[in-house]
């Protein structure tokens, strides 16, 4: 396949009115599409609609302007990877690696996302309406004011928060439709050494990885949760107070260096 980075000149593919742009991605390779998005953002486009997206990877990757991007279709792996500022709204499911190492900005998924959501995420917010796959928030991290947040409306599969080093994960379990949710994911927080995971409802101790434990919530935790849940409700609807009235479980790392004695002593 020949990559043609000049397709932006084709009005059927790229149309711009003032600071709005509309892209038809039907026949675009991800490199063509992403070059277009990046160029448009640097030229002052503020909002973009991308239609007919089917599996194009890395959308929004490396974009540093606070543009608003609406995606119609199913974006490919590593949506918003390394991005620094944009808001991306997808109107269907997303694939693996949503927000991989993203720095700042917001990603909203109106559906389900795949495995390794928020992998190595460094800042910004990700809202997923429904559930996610394996290894959500793997090696998510934080640095002073850079604190990534991942909010999941449904549940997660195994290895949630694997090697997690920082940031906040909230799992609401709303799709289960129960007042008190029991999370079934196994090996939660394996190798976790920083950050916090909040689960609405309960989880068995045997589902937790080594190095993570349940800790009581304090007032600060309640504030964090309120911000997260209000953000979720603002995108997807629901009653924040009702959700917040449920029981939440907080998981935190026991040690900052769980394998310190294994590799270096």
């Amino acid at each position: 396949m020949k990559i043609d980075l000049e397709k932006k000149g084709d009005p059927r593919v790229f149309a711009r009115i003032n600071d709005k742009a509309r892209i038809d991605a039907s026949n675009l390779h991800y490199r063509e599409l992403n070059a277009m998005v990046k160029e448009a953002a640097s030229e002052g486009v503020k909002t973009m609609e991308i239609h007919n997206v089917f599996g194009q990877r890395y959308i929004g990757s490396g974009v540093r302007q606070p543009v608003h991007i609406d995606i119609y279709g199913v974006p490919g792996n590593d949506l918003g990877a390394f991005m620094d500022g944009p808001t991306i709204i997808t109107h269907r499911n997303a694939q693996d690696g949503v927000g991989n190492t993203m720095n700042s900005g917001t990603i909203v998924v109106n559906g389900r996302a795949g495995d390794i959501v928020a992998m190595g995420m460094r800042g910004g917010q990700i809202f997923i309406r429904e559930s996610v796959g394996y290894r959500a928030a793997i090696h998510m991290k934080e640095y002073f004011k850079h604190k990534p947040v991942l909010i999941i409306g449904g549940t997660t599969q195994d290895f949630l928060g694997e090697y997690m080093a920082g940031g906040v994960v909230v799992v609401l379990g709303l799709t289960k439709g129960e007042k008190e949710v029991k999370h079934q994911a196994r090996h939660i927080g394996t190798g976790m050494h920083g950050g916090a995971i909040y689960l609405r409802g309960e989880v068995d101790d045997r589902n937790l990885g080594k190095g993570v434990s349940k800790v009581p919530l304090d007032e600060k935790d309640r504030d964090v949760l309120r911000d997260c849940v209000e953000g979720y409700v603002s995108y997807f609807g629901g009653d924040a107070d009702e959700i917040l009235s449920s029981h939440f479980t907080k998981l935190a790392a026991l040690s900052h260096r769980p394998y310190g004695g294994l590799y270096a002593y």
Partner: protein, 380 residues
């Protein structure tokens, strides 16, 4: 053979693409949708391998074993045909139709044969076992010959190239099948060659695989005890033979077979109710040598089932989707939506738990071929 024309992979990392679709009522479609789906995941391929399995493509010869063959040269073909004629009734022999296609070069000689084991040679042996032995004999003993498909009313088409190019080379848009399975990329940790592309097949079992089987050595040694010869220099081959052994010969259910390939952890077995614990302990102990160690997501198919499975901790991606009578299994979500924009439900399967899609009727009743109808109409 073809093994001399090998292409180095130079550690070109990409994940394989796998895609499968089955119509549960046995309604057939041509190859266009699966070509579209697998081409959509081009990023996962690298041009060193592509292949497809199609079920229901030979309705007029559905009682015969369809052998798809690769030959290095005419000598290999003659030698193989001599062996075939001695062991089988040969109903039909023909060159597999292909058309030259950009991106597909140096194909071997490609032939197909429709065969039935000679009754007098069976001597009480099951036909399927006889066929497996014949396949192993050709692959191991006849220099430059390789059986890449040996099931009834189905066929594998594969080679070196991008899967969409391989599909066009084999004219797959002209075949109609109720189950299509496809794969893009190349054999794990080995050089790309025509026989090494996925799917791997024995009888009507086909396997496409994303990942790598690090237990290959012990799996091969175990399978050898049951007469399976691994000649293709790549790991996925063992899955095809393991499935044939477990399900066809040892009559395990698909669920139990999955628990052999992707066994539950011992600590999970310890927590099971006593009866279940007993079964899973027995499975792990009996078939410890068939445990597939390493990351994998696979699609296994036969004449009436399509099965998706990942390793128990899901180190490779797999998603599934349904709409009406269609079931899809794919490495990525997007291609399912691309081929079926109104797909109703998609989900991420649990690691080690199989998704089993099964035809509503085990045996597809084929429409009588057109020629037969014409003849009947011609009767007074």
């Amino acid at each position: 053979m073809l093994r001399q024309h090998q292409i180095r992979d130079d550690k070109d990392f990409s994940g394989c693409s796998i895609f499968g679709m089955i119509n549960l009522e046995g309604k057939k479609v041509d190859g266009a949708p699966i070509i579209k789906a697998i081409a959509n995941m081009k990023e996962r391929s690298n041009g060193l391998g592509g292949g497809f399995a199609a079920y229901g493509i030979y309705p007029e010869l559905s009682d015969l074993y369809a052998f798809h063959m690769m030959f290095d040269d005419e000598r290999a073909r003659v030698e193989t045909e001599e062996f075939m004629c001695a062991s089988f009734y040969m109903e039909k022999a023909e060159i597999i139709p292909t058309r030259p296609h950009r991106g597909v070069s140096d194909p071997p000689l490609l032939w197909r044969y429709f065969l039935l084991p000679r009754e007098e040679l069976l001597d009480g042996e099951a036909e399927d076992d006889f066929v497996v032995r014949a396949v192993m004999h050709i692959n191991e003993r006849i220099e430059g010959a390789f059986v890449f498909s040996s099931g009834k009313n189905m066929g594998v088409f594969k080679g070196v190239g991008y899967p969409e190019d391989i599909a066009r080379f084999f004219l797959l848009d002209e075949y109609e099948a109720y189950t299509w399975v496809g794969h893009g990329r190349f054999p794990t940790n080995t050089q790309g060659w025509w026989g090494g592309a996925h799917p791997f097949n024995i009888l009507d079992w086909s396997v496409v695989h994303n990942g790598e089987i690090s237990s290959y050595g012990i799996n091969v040694r175990y399978l050898e005890m049951y007469g399976y010869k691994c000649t293709l220099h790549t790991d996925t081959e063992v899955i095809a033979y393991a499935v044939d052994l477990l399900v066809r010969r040892h009559r395990l259910s698909i669920e139990d077979m999955s628990k052999v390939l992707a066994a539950p952890l011992w600590e999970e077995i310890d927590r099971m109710p006593p009866e279940e614990r007993k079964i899973h302990t027995a499975l792990r102990q009996t078939y410890s040598s068939l445990l597939m160690n390493g990351p994998f997501s696979i699609i296994i198919s036969n004449n009436y089932q399509m099965i998706g499975l990942t390793d128990r901790i899901r180190l490779r991606p797999l998603v599934a989707g349904t709409r009406g009578n269609m079931v899809y299994i794919s490495s990525e979500e997007a291609p399912m939506h691309l081929v079926d924009d109104s797909i109703e439900h998609t989900w991420i399967p649990q690691g080690g738990v199989p998704i089993v899609a099964e035809l509503k009727k085990k045996k597809i009743v084929e429409e009588p071929p057109e020629m037969e109808l014409l003849r009947e109409e011609a009767l007074p």
